[in-house]
Amino acid sequence: MDVLEIARWQFGITTVYHFLMVPLTIGLGLTVAVMQTVWHRTGNEQWLRMTKFWGKLFLINFIMGVATGIVQEFQFGMAWSEYSRYVGDVFGAPLAMEALLAFFVESTFLGLWIFGWKKLPRRIHLATIWCASLAAILSAYFILVANSWMQHPVGTELINGRAVMTDAWAVFTNNTALVTFPHTIFGAFAVAGGFLLGISWFHLYRRRKEGIDTVDANGRVVVGEDLSKGRVRDRTDHKVWLTSLRIGALIATISFFGVALSGHEQAKLMFEQQPMKMAAAEAACHDGTGFSVLTLGNVGTQGATTCDDVVAVFELPGLLSFLANGDFETPVKGVNTLIPEYQEKYGSHYPDDPAFGQYAGEEISYLPVMEVTYWGFRLMITLGGLSAVAAALALWVTRKGTVPQSKWLSRLVLLGIAAPFGANSAGWIFTEMGRQPFTVAPNPQMGGVDQVFMYTAASVSPTVSAGEMLFSLITLTLVYGVLLVVELVLLTRYIRGGTGSAMPELLEPEQTSGKDPSDDDGDVLAFAY
């Protein structure tokens, strides 16, 4: 592998990994804020337990997102210095704003939230989780502005060989960003919804299996108690899981519509802005109107400029045109039409310039790796759709107040937690790989070679060696692998511990009941590491 390939693998691995933590943080954060608000308003202990339990899982996950996020801020300069020089004037701004305006708020206020129980006045304490979770969403906006600019550069001119911002409003209201933002946020809530649903299902299932909750002959749910370990599995506990399950299923279902609608808008834009990406997503070699359900054959002709071997096995006529244009007739350009257009506009060979390293003077492959774009696109839709259907079914199945006593179903639901994560990853891999061979895709409304765009081949740090890149790729991958195991072990332990894992006072009710801990200020901390 050459430097460029190693650098790309590293960026892909670190970013996909980081984005496992991010959607859960975004989706779960606001959900926890809402739960705490309900508790604040009603004083109902059920909602306090929900806040504490989901808040605990939120924090276990949050820290991993923080830790892996630092890598993101640094690696543009480290591995992609030519890219950083070219785009810094535009791309650096949203990144710096993210740190200054969003991440600072998120980190500081989460610290206040974690340690502020019983220390801050209740209303203020509630406000801290709202600040932190809204800041996470603001954070996503800034990062997506930066990413959308790479997909569709606007508000920029090419001056002295680099992209220079001329219109900040255009950059921050880039239509690509405005559709990607809701798509990503709804995607994040789909993740959180599935997470809530899967874990709550697990607890309801175990309560039933262990005979705590039963279903009588009339099909009515009889809620019971098992107080052998404090109040962890009392009647309120049942409500905790049932309500969480319903909230999760509802969030997942609603999010799906949000994801689908925003995704449709995004796809329409993408057909205009990056037609090659969408043609590759369809493995559509020739112009047409049909959406491919299954395309076989020589799908992955990486590096080739022709894809005549591709055979569309089954197509839904007209659907592709609907995705692209909103009608069923206008044909959508295929790869074979687009390649000559790109070649004419941006050249058929890389410039013979040392900045392109070993790729200088080579032929440009405008076709992204079609196996990845085609299957990535479909995986995203399939996993997203399946989770939504499953969530809606779960709502129906649990309408009477518990889950079916089925072992395989409960395992399937737990496994299903992974589906929205997978959909998120697949979507990002599709859109980033589909942008190749560019890091900054050319804006088709702006003309040819004299415009702002950048090839991936020219983006990498020129004098960083393959050995250095390999060192960091291996190190980071190993570290991330170990930490993934650690996070999963911890999450599993806290999930199996139920609400008692986040509320020790539930485990020994005699000692704490009747005593308001806020009276002994200066005694033991309400929370300590």
Binding site: I60, I63, V66, A67, T68, I70, V71, E73, F74, F76, G77, M78, A79, S81, S84, R85, G88, D89, G92, A93, L95, A96, M97, A99, L100, L101, F103, F104, S107, T108, L110, G111, L112, I114, L120, I159, V164, M165, K229, S461, P462, T463, V464, S465, E468, S472, T475, L476, L483, V486, R493, R496, G497, G498, P504, G522, V524, L525, A528, Y529
Partner: protein, 341 residues
């Protein structure tokens, strides 16, 4: 608009100073927990002095990085790519450190907790050393060619400057955390910190003063010399007031020492952001490394609004958690056990 790059140079110097001041004691505490021999309860006291604030402090590093990217893309690109290996280690160190802070208390047995302690200690040490190395090299020089790219291989940056900067930040962070503990704890920890501070402080600020002096010596500006002198006076004051038992005063004086020494470094380095050790014609300066006036103006507006806000709510957070803590404030370990059969 000539002054915009200068303004941003100042702002980035402020961000780095803020980072060293705030995360300095976090890193020092991490080293004390992970590499010291304190008992478990005492370790938890140390950790909880920074518990609510460490994450906010670390954002200063991200903001310094992000602001450099936005305001001086060429500085950001050259510095970060030149120091590829050390920064990779810093990243790994920061990852382990962050996760260790959050997960150490969730360990179910002493072995696991010991591993997290090691991660926290070495993570803090390596991160402090690496940041020091990076800041020393950006002020004292890297082998950059005309494109701003490092030449001479993965370790071409390695000079005694790199070691000096690393040692300077490690030593400062440690003594800064000792001063911090005097303010945040009570009982034996506070007393011991008092003794340690008086004993070690002069040695711990020496490398930082030396680094500052090396940069200032190459420059003749009066301002830099004045700042260095201020740092020296503050250092003396910190030591004498510590000996007299004035904890707050000595902490503030140590902070002023840091500000003076780092400001002297940046003032002396100005307008060069990375000197090229190959040819001074290849130096990166605030003028040839900066973003366009338009972007700098936009970022200035954002910073004028954002920085005071950050300072306000971070100060508030320190105010909320202003109470001293000691072993009696630390709750018992909470072991999580499965409730499902």
């Amino acid at each position: 608009m000539e002054w915009l790059p200068t303004l941003w140079f100042i702002l980035i110097a402020v961000l780095w100073t803020g980072y060293l001041f705030l995360e300095g004691f976090d890193l020092g505490i991490g080293m004390q927990i992970g590499l010291g021999r304190a008992g478990e309860k005492r370790k938890r006291v140390l950790l909880n002095t920074i518990g609510p604030v460490w994450d906010g402090n670390e954002v200063w590093l991200l903001t310094a990085g992000g602001a450099t990217f936005a305001a001086f893309p060429y500085w950001y690109a050259s510095l970060f790519s030149a120091l590829y290996i050390p920064l990779t280690l810093v990243l790994v160190a920061l990852i382990f450190r962050a996760v260790a802070i959050e997960y150490r208390g969730k360990a179910q047995n002493a072995t696991t907790r010991g591993l997290w302690d090691l991660a926290l200690g070495w993570g803090s040490l390596i991160a402090a050393f690496g940041v020091g190395t990076m800041l020393a090299l950006t002020t004292l020089g890297l082998p950059l060619n005309e494109n701003g790219d490092r030449v001479g291989g993965p370790f071409a940056w390695f000079t005694w400057h790199a070691v000096l900067g690393g040692v300077a930040v490690v030593a400062f962070s440690w003594i800064h955390s000792v001063a911090f503990l005097r303010l945040k704890t009570e009982g034996p920890i506070r007393e011991r910190a008092g003794q340690q501070f008086v004993r070690w402080m002069p040695w711990c600020v020496l490398p930082l003063m030396l680094w500052s002096a090396v940069v200032v010596l190459a420059d003749t500006s009066l301002a830099a010399w004045t700042l260095l002198a201020l740092a020296l006076v503050a250092a003396f004051f910190a030591w004498f007031s510590a000996r007299a038992g004035h904890e707050g005063r000595s902490f503030i004086a140590l902070g002023i020492m840091l500000v003076g020494a780092v400001a002297a470094i940046f003032v002396a380095a100005f307008p060069v952001v990375i000197p090229s050790t190959i040819n001074s014609a290849f130096d990166l300066t605030v003028y040839n490394a900066s973003s366009s006036p338009y972007t700098l103006k936009l970022m200035s507006i954002v910073a004028a609004f954002g920085v005071p806000l950050v300072l306000a709510y971070q100060s508030w957070s320190y105010w909320v958690f202003r109470k001293r803590i000691s072993e009696k404030h630390i709750p018992e370990d909470h072991l999580v056990t499965s409730v499902v059969k």
